[in-house]
């Protein structure tokens, strides 16, 4: 929860730099609710990007949320449709990281996960609100504010289990992102990189016998 405050404040500061007021930031944080996306909008706007290109890039980056929702399909198979809808609608990078760990440990329900989502969303939204207020009164360098988000992603990455198959997924995902950028595919770089990571790790798992009865089409469906 406090992690959201630590990144919500800098995100609010960035939003204030493009002239958003605190209520706009609050609305954006509640209904859009994407850390990376909300950091991207002010960054691209300041870099002079047009409205359609901001929408296209942000939406493409957010396609990774498809992977999050998909990975909770098993856990949500026994809960009501309404709960599943609201749970899926309020998942984002960090609460996904928390929930996936809790589900792995067991003793964790979709309802509890949804409560985590709601608390995270609220602390994120109000931290953004406060960030805009700070940003309009204090001058904070923007790249430093944006590094809060990067730090959160690094923490989520290094606290994954470091099995050989996960390391393959990480390395290929990183190469995938870099390769996309070399080809000029900045918007979908995260999604394509992540899929490359999953595909290669699956192939590795299959080849090294770590993959239980892998069906041929399992990887392609992603």
């Amino acid at each position: 929860m406090l992690g959201y405050v630590a990144i919500g404040l800098p995100c609010g500061i960035l939003c204030s730099s493009i002239g958003l007021n605190p209520w706009q930031a609050l609305l954006l944080s509640y209904l859009f609710y994407s850390g990376a996306g909300q950091f991207m909008i002010p960054n691209m706007y300041l870099a002079g990007a047009s409205v359609p290109s901001i929408i296209a890039s942000v939406s493409l980056v957010n396609t990774r949320q498809m992977l999050y929702a998909a990975s909770f399909a098993k856990e949500c198979s026994r809960c009501s449709r309404i709960l599943a809808f609201f749970f899926a609608a309020t998942v984002t990078d960090e609460s996904y990281g928390v929930s996936i760990k809790k589900f792995e440990e067991g003793n964790w329900s979709v309802k509890q996960a949804f409560m985590v989502n709601l608390f995270s969303q609220s602390s994120w939204a109000w931290a953004n609100f406060a960030g805009v207020l700070i940003g309009t009164s204090v001058n904070v360098p923007l790249p430093i504010a944006a590094f809060a988000m990067t730090s959160i992603f690094i923490c989520l990455l290094v606290t994954q289990k470091l099995t050989s198959i996960n390391i393959v997924a990480m390395v290929f995902a990183m190469f995938g992102v870099f390769g996309c950028k070399v080809l000029g595919l900045r918007g979908p770089a995260i999604l394509i990189g992540a899929i490359i990571g999953v595909v290669f790790a699956s192939l590795y798992g299959f080849a090294s016998g770590q993959f239980p009865k892998a069906s041929g089409d399992s990887v392609d469906e992603l």
Partner: protein
């Protein structure tokens, strides 16, 4: 940013992200997933987080402005890795990362 621009970006992005979040779950929900497929889903977290980190830290033109502007975030990232492994805390990682990066840029 004007109100008009804000509303357009806000509305379109909010709808696309909601669809991305909700549709895959309802497509997959309640179906018997092949074991290999479930296993592949488990590979999503390391791959996505690695992709997000790489997206923030690496780009083909990162060394264009010289060695130090590219090295500073990488050194700060190493500091975050150490903090994250020791504390396992998102809060301390964010605070430590911002502090490390800020100090490096002051040098």
């Amino acid at each position: 940013m004007s109100w008009d621009e804000f509303w357009i970006i806000f509305a379109v992005c909010a709808v696309t992200i909601l669809l991305c979040r909700v549709v895959p779950l309802f497509v997959l929900k309640g179906r018997e997933l092949p074991q290999g497929f479930s296993y592949a889903l488990g590979l999503i977290p390391p791959a996505v987080f690695a992709a997000l980190v790489a997206n923030d830290l690496l780009s083909p033109e990162m060394f264009d402005a010289g060695l130090w502007p590219a090295a500073a975030p990488l050194i700060a990232a190493v500091c975050v890795v150490i903090i994250a492994l020791r504390t396992k805390s998102l809060l301390w990682s964010a605070l430590g990362g911002v502090a490390a990066y800020g100090l490096l840029l002051l040098l």
